[in-house]
């Protein structure tokens, strides 16, 4: 195949995020043929979205080349990308609710009257032409606020078609859609491909890859695993390539002792949100026992984040009940949860887990400030001593009075761990505890988690990193579409393969869930 037949050829793309030194893209090659639908598949954090942002001019690569239509190009902004005929529909619709469809579509490329002001009738006419040509179910005069989610997404696509793009990128377009809306979207996409447009879909849903794509490109941990004709490989192959071979994390775990006391129990919990077609969590029932690590695995958008928010007290449950040591703690906010003994390491350590401009000492007392207060006065010396002690124990590279924002990612996480473990009573929640951390820091976190389990705490570990889940957890619950699709006993965890885990996570397989 010559370069002329390729809509896009990316070669050797490297993107390193300076904050974490994370190689989001590591020597990635990608080709897109004219008139094809290519699925870009991979787990969370595999680097799919980063690669597409590089192509769309939203991120500058550290090295690598991009050719569009056979000519090498430097794309430094979205405007550049649009000029080259590249368009992208983001995962979350970004429209102005109070504007009409036409106003939203022409925004940034308006037909002008006398070169000055917006030509409203002409913009409506132009947008309606695009809508008619592609048989969308919307009208240019509709207010965006009155549209359903699937229709809003159509507006985003129309916006790109109005800009005459030949290459259209869609980032997880079906995440918020119902089955019917997904079907409608797919027939639109097929029609676009037949007209000669080239499409890239970012997705991790195997069924969709099978249903829509001509070819599939699979990424894992920042690297391109390979590009394949969809017809020639099985879903199992794709799943295995997405998950990768098991990496031994070399965690030494004393044997698991059979059930003791349930500490945290969920009984038939539902979380429903307005404007969401299906519940975020449904029929969720489980217990976390003393002296065990209960792992929650799943692919993004299947309820891991929602479970974290419920456990942290940020999100109320709609129906069902949550018990702590036999006591009903449903519908209590974070404040009550904290005084009930919640210890919780959040996934977002920068936006939730710390106040970057406050000092390490101040960050360390937020959840237990009552202990450092007498008659409303802060006991400064006690706070400093406390900070110095934890800095010593956890080997944190900082001083008590340094603003926490000046620390490295690993050290910030150590501060968060120190604070939460220090106030541990009988259970602790870890969410994505090693996200963006290097090997040494991850190692430290793993040792801590195991030692807490051996001290008899109930540890709930929420993580999209399968290696981590399998190495640390005594039992594993797999979340798929907001409910548990499999609950593995310690024996099963020891034997399960990543392919099997993948099939549970992606909803291809469902285990009869008994033991809860």
């Amino acid at each position: 195949m010559t370069d002329v037949d390729l809509a896009v050829a990316m070669h050797g793309v490297v993107k390193i995020y300076p904050e974490t030194q994370l190689h989001a893209n590591d020597q990635v090659d990608l080709t897109l043929r004219k008139g094809e639908i290519l699925c870009l598949a991979g787990e969370n954090g595999a680097g799919k979205t980063t690669l597409m942002k590089v192509l769309y001019g939203m991120e500058r690569p550290d090295s690598g080349t991009i050719s569009v239509g056979g000519i090498e190009r430097t794309i430094t902004s979205v405007m550049d990308a649009n000029a080259l005929g590249i368009g992208m529909v983001q995962q979350h619709v970004m429209l102005i609710d109070d504007f009409t469809v036409a106003q939203n579509v022409v925004l940034g490329k308006e037909p002008k009257r006398f070169g000055m002001h917006l030509d409203v009738p002409r913009s409506q006419h132009l947008v309606n032409e695009v809508i008619k040509a592609h048989r969308f179910s919307i009208d240019a005069a509709d207010k965006v606020a009155s549209l359903a989610v699937g229709q809003k997404q159509q507006v985003e696509i129309v916006k790109m078609l109005y800009r005459d793009v030949d290459i259209l990128i869609l980032d997880e377009p079906t995440a918020v859609l119902t089955e019917q809306e997904t079907e409608a979207l797919f027939s639109t996409l097929r029609a676009l491909a037949n007209q000669g447009k080239s499409l890239i879909l970012i997705t991790h849903k195997l069924r969709e890859i099978r249903a829509i794509s001509d070819r599939v490109a699979i990424m894992r941990q920042g690297k391109m695993v390979g590009e394949y004709e969809t017809a020639t490989i099985t879903e199992q192959d794709i799943s295995r390539m997405m998950m990768g071979q098991s990496v031994s994390l070399d965690v030494v775990k004393p044997p698991y002792h059979r059930k003791k006391r349930p500490i945290i129990t969920f009984k038939d919990v539902f979380v429903v949100k307005r404007n969401q077609p299906r519940p975020l969590l449904s029929h969720l029932s489980f217990s976390a026992y003393t002296g065990e690590v209960l792992g929650f695995a799943g692919v993004g958008g299947n309820g891991l984040g929602v479970l974290e928010a419920v456990l942290g007290g940020f999100l109320p449950v709609s129906t069902g009940a949550v018990f702590h040591d036999g006591k009903d703690i449903t519908l209590r906010g974070t404040r009550r949860a904290r005084s009930d003994g919640l210890a919780y390491v959040p996934a977002d350590r920068l936006k939730v887990g710390s106040a970057l401009y406050a000092t390490v000492a101040e960050n360390l007392i937020v959840a237990s400030r009552e202990q450092f207060t007498r008659f409303g006065w802060l006991q400064r010396r006690k706070i400093e001593k406390h900070a110095d002690a934890l800095i010593g124990t956890y080997n944190i590279r900082a001083q008590a009075f340094s603003p926490i924002g000046t620390l490295s990612g690993g050290n910030i996480q150590k501060v968060v761990l120190a604070r939460e473990i220090d106030r541990l009573q009988d259970f602790i929640v870890f969410s994505e505890p090693t996200w963006g951390l290097d090997v040494a820091s991850s190692r430290f976190v793993y040792d801590k988690i195991i030692s807490l389990r051996d001290r008899g705490a109930a540890v709930i570990l929420i993580s999209s990193n399968l290696d981590e889940i399998l190495a640390l957890s005594d039992r594993v619950a797999v979340l798929c579409r907001g409910s548990i699709s499999a609950l593995l006993s310690p024996e099963q965890v020891a034997q399960v393969t990543k392919e099997e885990m993948g099939s549970y996570m992606l909803g291809m397989n469902q285990q009869e869930v008994r033991d809860v």
């Binding site: 942290g312 904290r338 005084s339 937020v366 009075f401 924002g405 000046t406």
Partner: protein, 352 residues
Amino acid sequence: MYEPQRLRRYGIQPVLRNSLGSALIVAIALFFLVLLAVLLSDTPGTTLRYFFLGPLQNTYSFGNMLNAAIPLIFGGLGISLAMRAGSFNLGGEGQLYGGAFAATIAAISWSSWGLLGGIAAVVVGALVGGVLAGFSGLLRMKWNTNELITSFLLSNVVVLIINYLIAGPYQDPETNLIATRSIPEFMRFTRILEPSNLSTGFYGALIAVLLVHVYLYHTKSGYELRMVGLNTMFARYGGINALWYRVWPMMLSGALYGLGGAVAIFGTYYTSMREFLLGMGYNGLAVALIARFRPAMVIPAALFFAYIESGARSAMMHSDVTFEIASIVQAVVFFLVTSKVFQTIGTHRRRS
């Protein structure tokens, strides 16, 4: 911008580094002043001498300069406190005016209570300011309205209502001024540094600075307030009632403004005149910006502002420039303090 936690132990260095940006702003503003004097004045030497030395040449002008700084200190503290909690109180004008007016009326009505009435009147002034600002905080807590807008709009309404009250029902019939009656003699603050207008109210301002500093950095509530201001999600995560800190800091902020108004009445004016404190609310905002919302730095920032005004007044009397020269210098300062560049000078950068 961060708080150096242990200044005493680790010396003055961090303070200097944190003040570098502010010092540069002052220097640039003074450079503009010299430039203006050279351009506009026939005798720039005389103008500048009176501008710089006028406020310091005798107890009268020195005392008046200190006196002018009092409401600026209260205003600067009010803004700083709200800002530390992540709230923007733009209604200082109305809170100051409202506090002053309420304190005046209360003092006149309760003159028979003796000194107790005076104290009660000052408290009423603070309360009125606190309620006015607290209302905007309450709206934000309940409906997430922008407190910057609501406090500003409410303040405008309050100014107009009080204008009416002073010109109408509460106007003192014995004078031709648009003013209320005067508060009784025995309630007035003692003058210090005669013959200037400076009163013991200045000590009150200094005590207020100390109290706000202690509140913010040495009490649990102050800690919670600052955490909400630095990162609301983090505060919620730590179990802090973040909603309450939408209201409480606004109340305190308004109360400081109201107190500033009451102190101006008891120390300087003794009567509420129509729009007599106009502009002071906004100058408090500028002072807080120069101080970068640090209570202790509000004092030098307020003195600097008062010095510029006092210098301009002196230059106007003894030379050929007009008072507007002070406004120009203040405007330059205001312009520069809002720039990001000067805010980052001397602050810590995040290591990656």
